[in-house]
Symmetry: C2
Subunit: 332 residues, 2 copies
Amino acid sequence: MKKLLNDPARVVDEMVEGYASAYPQYIRQLASSPRALVRRELPPGKVGVVIGGGAGHEPGFMGYVGQGFADGVAVGNIFASPSPGPIVAVTEAVHQGAGVLYIYGNYAGDGMNFDMSAELAAMSGIRTATVRITDDVASAPSAQAEKRRGIAGFVLLFKMAGAASELGYNLEDLAAVCAKANDRTRTMGVALSPCTLPQTGKPAFELADDEMEIGLGIHGEPGMERGKLATADEVAERLLGAILGELELSRGDRVAVLVNGLGSTTMMELFIVFRKAAAILTERGVSIHRSYVGEYVTSMEMGGCSITVMKLDEELEKLIDHPADCSAFTQA
Amino acid sequence: MKKLLNDPARVVDEMVEGYASAYPQYIRQLASSPRALVRRELPPGKVGVVIGGGAGHEPGFMGYVGQGFADGVAVGNIFASPSPGPIVAVTEAVHQGAGVLYIYGNYAGDGMNFDMSAELAAMSGIRTATVRITDDVASAPSAQAEKRRGIAGFVLLFKMAGAASELGYNLEDLAAVCAKANDRTRTMGVALSPCTLPQTGKPAFELADDEMEIGLGIHGEPGMERGKLATADEVAERLLGAILGELELSRGDRVAVLVNGLGSTTMMELFIVFRKAAAILTERGVSIHRSYVGEYVTSMEMGGCSITVMKLDEELEKLIDHPADCSAFTQA
């Protein structure tokens, strides 16, 4: 895959510079730590919400700093966790005395770096709490949910955290509502084609011209099964089937649905997948309270998509309806 | 390129159904004409703004119906103009007595179908005015600007039209301000890889592994020159250079800048391109009033990007700052 790049070693730094110059209304780049981006205007007194993760998932994670979302983000190298340096820098910049929530995908590297950052923050007198996102049904059996990875459900979880913190939740309550939202969120994805790492110029994995892989991770981690490319409707049934098997949705339940494109899959395809997902939910008497269709968390130009469902309750419905304004997600 | 589809012949209909079920807060699909989508809530009394074009450019054009944007859209087949049926249906649905503006890209098919629709609308007593978008610098020499095609500048032009119509402009003034905005908008693009047509499963054109084509059209129309793949900075210089040669920007001028991805080019690359474009403009003393970076008008999964610059004046600055809320573009 051809890419528009300059120096492959400076890809992430140049991207962050570009982002900071494109969207000064949302974020400022910390001079002391250029991989640390902080929300331009922090509502006074609230608990800070800090996100972070590897680059290569744009508009995640930089795009989710702003009103109703996170207060700061630490940006790692491509598909690699940020180090404690920028995480701590963001933590200190967004801390207003009420503590800081770390919310990120459940990957070993992110866990290690955020945990080290939490220890460093504690030494500076900053209390933190942590929620690890584990929405990927395909990444471990349901009995081992704590081993599951986080994928596109990120976006809805960040939204919950941002909304609740702006509504005045304290640190403990904020962590609790995000943990609840995480428990009620499931994602399942399918990959059709690989992305190419800028550093190596090589594809991250291989799939034959007529193959797809269900549950393949957003960094190319092995999925649940590889099979022949199916129709959009069959894929929607398969992905949603796995989610519905766990969420136990009943007639009258309300959900938020996110159909996420991994990079090179067109919105045309995403809408066709959404169409079937909506039909299946409607047939079961489940009401779609909010829908989101687009590229929210990518794997560079990987081909494929995922379906995320969050089972709402009254509290989560209020949080998902809360206004938001950041570069990747605006809701009036 | 593998695609998630069902019946290739029903791709557009299924996509429109999916869109309508995903975003009922923005649009409703007309029962009498399913390729006609109308804004959910029309502000009373204003001039109607109708857009339209071929499918395959998602989130264009369906995504640009909503607050601060268009009032209705007619959706054609892939890369083909909508027929007068849905255009007239939309026109009648959005007309409130103050006339209707047609604003669309300058392509022969769209021109013919919108002109026929204008005649049909006139028979029903609906006054229309037309603005054809001609922002693509690469598509004809500047002396023949009326032959130029419309590409990503669409988005900013639709925003002007939506904002001005909501601010109470009458039909003549609305057409005039959009024509002025079009005169002050230039786009130049580069393609790196083709898209595949769902009907044929074949790529729309071919480019070697180390080639790019400057000025290639969003339907694969021939560009200005084909050459070796350059760096992101060189591409930004080349694209912006052509634009600056025409817009005659001086120190102190204010612009809006849109870096648009054609489909499979990552946001990482788009931000790197934007970074250089911003540096060039800043060096010239030109102030970037608003930036937009992302996939706004695609050619399915084509690889490449474009840079659009609109030279603002006081009136256009007010219009670009006007709030917007549609599925593809929200601005608080």
